[in-house]
């Protein structure tokens, strides 16, 4: 009932652990996999070691999370061991990569491709570092230049372009990525925001601004997925604010084939994958659907 195919890869269910959540080591990824995720995404990895920002890096507000972790990374050279352990994964493992320019993306992609992950996600959308990503994801031509360069390196491995809702017209970016060789789209990354602690009269995050995730951004995710679905033929991992079965089904009806879960781990723990799957199944039974594949994009009819 829940099994599906995403960019040629079989998934036992459409839930996917989102990048940057838990994915710092292989064991946590395996834990998410063993807790019911249909696929898991590693934390985005860059060309060299990077500290990220000082704390506070994550804040929980009334309607979601706000984070500026700042793309910490040991650098791709340090994560060989994780790939060894990940061979035990019962579900597909998606590697996620970032860079400050096309050649950095290419350098990381080349090394990562050798490790043969099930897919490679190209993060052209992180809002939390001054120089990384964001710009690529906001402009069709620069986004496409990263995607086509990475695609050349990774060959047969399906490439997922991870997009930002900050783009003026996300469907244009998606189309450019598709034309440049992307096999799938992942949307959305976080939405730029800020919170101030009024007693301290200081921004809550050390980096001041951060990315909003969780329940507050779900309607933004639905809108972006809707637009992308109308613009491209390649499949979409939809994410943003999913923490129950209804949320997941909403994003699928908007056009997502698979469903990423990030902040949901905060709200529900790693049990969130099982919970979402069970709730989807219950709803599908009550509403006479036989396969999740039937749900994809049906709100467009």
């Amino acid at each position: 009932m829940l099994s599906t195919v995403f960019a040629g890869i079989e998934l036992k269910n459409p839930t996917v652990l989102a990048s940057g959540i838990l994915g710092t080591n292989a064991e946590l990824l395996l834990r998410a996999a063993n807790s019911g995720a249909g696929a898991v995404t590693m934390k985005s990895v860059g060309p060299k070691e990077r500290q990220g920002h000082n704390n506070p890096t994550v804040a929980v507000w009334e309607h979601g999370l706000l984070n500026a972790v700042g793309l910490p990374s040991p650098g791709y050279k340090e994560i060989e061991e994780e790939f060894e352990l990940l061979k035990k994964s019962p579900v597909p493992v998606i590697a996620s990569i970032y860079g400050a320019n096309v050649s950095e993306f290419v350098e990381v992609a080349k090394a990562i491709a050798e490790k043969k992950p099930a897919m490679v996600e190209v993060n052209i959308s992180c809002p939390n570092s001054e120089m990384h990503g964001q710009l690529f994801g906001c402009h069709a031509d620069s986004g496409a230049s990263v995607i086509s360069a990475v695609k050349k390196e990774i060959g047969e491995i399906p490439l997922i372009a991870k997009l930002t809702p900050q783009a003026l017209n996300i469907s244009e970016i998606a189309k450019a990525c598709e034309a440049a060789g992307a096999d799938a789209i992942c949307a959305i990354n976080t939405v730029q925001g800020m919170l101030i602690n009024i007693e301290a009269h200081k921004p809550v995050l050390h980096f001041k601004k951060g990315g909003i995730s969780g329940p507050a951004i779900r309607p933004i995710a639905v809108r972006c997925i809707w637009d992308i679905f109308e613009a491209v033929k390649i499949p979409i991992i939809g994410l943003g604010g999913v923490s129950n079965g209804r949320d997941a089904i909403e994003l699928m009806q908007a056009g997502a084939t698979a469903i990423g879960i990030g902040s949901g781990i905060y709200y529900q723990g790693t049990g969130v994958f099982k919970k979402v799957c069970e709730e989807m199944q219950e709803w599908m039974k009550a509403n006479s659907y036989k396969s999740v594949k039937e749900l994809v994009g049906i709100a467009h009819e």
């Binding site: 007693e199 809550v204 781990i265």
Partner: protein, 269 residues
């Protein structure tokens, strides 16, 4: 429901040893012994600290070490800091009739509330408290009130000269405990674990890792193998420790790079 830091005042500062102070804070938090809070100095950083008092007014007990704790030590009574929490599982003493606590250095902080709670519940308690030197023995008095106290110092300036773990070994030869609770340097903790395993005694060890989201359990920074110190811990038991190859060996730097505990300690310096 939000979980943002709340700004509160430093009500009282108590100098515990030369390098350790307790900060009493005007904020109410109900907590289980062994749970921690995240303390925020705006513009500087945010770090985890075990509660050494809970309820109407809380306290954290801090050793002066790096940039953050130096900034905290520069603060006066009446100044404000941000607090969120409590987080983590804390110690579990259900069913325990006789307990032993092993605390090394600043590790006396997480076990103070535990010892007081055990005393209140009239649970038999032996405490082994270790420090570099006598004057750095944290919570000597308070812990002494809660059970039989054994002190060990590296320099022999107070109590037995040597390690807490040697004393634990001796104690286990004579007595039986339902559980050993321990906190301190990880090298000490891994020795405690070894001893408990040998004697087939249950133990609960309070571990420490560098934290980012600190308590939310999402960023993966505090990972030890498949566990998150901030959400699954900070207290871990035998069954978990047995399957925790990184315990006593590896930790993650701020970049999330995995390094040996030695390199981790050097980075913290």
């Amino acid at each position: 429901m939000s979980d943002l830091p709340k700004i509160c005042r430093i009500k009282k500062i108590v100098q515990e040893t030369q390098s350790i102070r307790t900060f009493f804070l005007g904020i109410e938090i109900k907590a289980i012994p062994g749970q921690f809070v995240m303390a925020w100095l705006p513009g500087i950083d945010e770090k985890p600290f075990t509660l050494t008092a809970a309820g109407k007014e809380i306290a954290i007990t801090v050793q002066e070490r790096g940039k953050f704790t130096k900034a905290l030590f520069a603060m006066k009574e009446g100044d404000s800091i941000g607090i969120r929490g409590p987080y983590g599982n804390g110690f579990d003493f259900k069913g325990v009739k006789k307990a032993c606590i092993v605390a090394g250095g600043c590790g006396a902080a997480p076990v103070l509330l535990l010892a007081q709670e055990l005393k209140k519940k009239k649970i038999g308690l032996k405490i082994i408290l270790g420090a570099r030197t006598g004057s750095e023995c944290l919570f000597k008095k308070n812990l002494g009130k809660t059970g039989g106290l054994y002190i060990t110092t590296d320099d022999g300036s107070e109590g037995e000269k040597g390690f807490t773990t040697t004393t634990l070994e001796k104690l286990l030869q004579k007595e039986k405990f339902d559980c050993v609770f321990a906190c301190g340097p990880e090298i000490m903790l891994s020795k405690v674990f070894e001893i408990c395993e040998k004697h087939k005694i249950k133990c609960q060890l309070n571990l420490e890792r560098f934290m980012k989201c600190g308590g939310m359990g999402i960023c993966g920074q505090c990972a030890i193998n498949e566990w998150l110190v901030c959400r699954d811990g900070p207290v871990f038991r035998n069954e978990q420790l047995q399957k925790m190859p990184e315990f006593g060996k590896f930790a993650r730097l701020k970049s999330t790079k995995k390094v040996s505990l030695q390199e981790y300690a050097q980075w913290r310096q």
